[in-house]
Amino acid sequence: MTLHLLNKSPQSMSLYSNMLASLSDNDSILLIEDGAYGALSAHNKIFKSLPDTVSLFVLRADTEARGLSERVSALFEVIDDNQFVELTCQNVKVVSWY
């Protein structure tokens, strides 16, 4: 179980491709900072082919700061800073993509 942190918008598409290529079952993805743009419904196709065991999260503070709260895809769960810390505890490894 690995948590993948990604902090760039989908403009950095190769970053997303590299992360997706390295995913295993039961991994989680947390989009932070400009990564919050990746959680827009408009970008659903990036994540659509993932297995159901992969969980998708986006950080609340970063979606709110960018005015995206109403537009986050249903594929994502919006979490606060405390849940961010909990996710890093639940997963054995934490990998940052930046």
Binding site: L5, N7, I32, E33, D34, A61, D81, N82, F84, V85, T88, C89, V94, S96, W97, Y98
Partner: protein, 130 residues
């Protein structure tokens, strides 16, 4: 859980430096331990005591100093990255014959061995990239 953090991002221009601080504060308030914060690359600029952010902007150097004091956290700055960017303690200022040292109180210049040790001794290492 025992955490260490690696901060690569500049406190002046990159959000990730602030995210690292928020993560540290949240983890500590939830009862976790931060063993060490290792500043690397442009992240070392946080230890420049001459930084004077405008009043209405966050002051990450002061925020880290206060947090480290309250929770007894080791704030380690990569010495090679720091000297290259003009962040010097007394020893390095003398060694390079510079006018003054400017390493902020509460921070310490050291090498990658401190990062390796943090990785070995922590349950989780979280990297905050540029």
């Amino acid at each position: 859980m025992k955490f260490s953090l690696v901060v690569h991002s500049s406190p002046i221009s990159q959000q990730s430096a602030a995210t690292a601080f928020r993560f540290a504060k949240t983890a500590l308030e939830a009862g976790h331990e931060i063993f060490r914060v290792f500043y690397y690359g442009d992240g070392v600029l946080v230890a420049n005591s001459q930084i004077a952010p405008p009043q209405d902007e966050i002051n990450l150097p002061e925020m880290w100093q206060a947090l480290a004091k309250q929770y007894d956290i080791d704030l380690v700055v990569c010495i090679a990255a720091a000297v290259k960017r003009g962040v010097l303690d007394d020893n390095e200022a003398k060694r390079y014959e510079k006018d003054a040292a400017n390493l902020a109180a509460g921070f310490e210049l050291s090498g990658l061995g401190q990062l390796a040790e943090a990785i070995a001794l922590s349950d989780r290492v979280i990297t905050f990239g540029a």
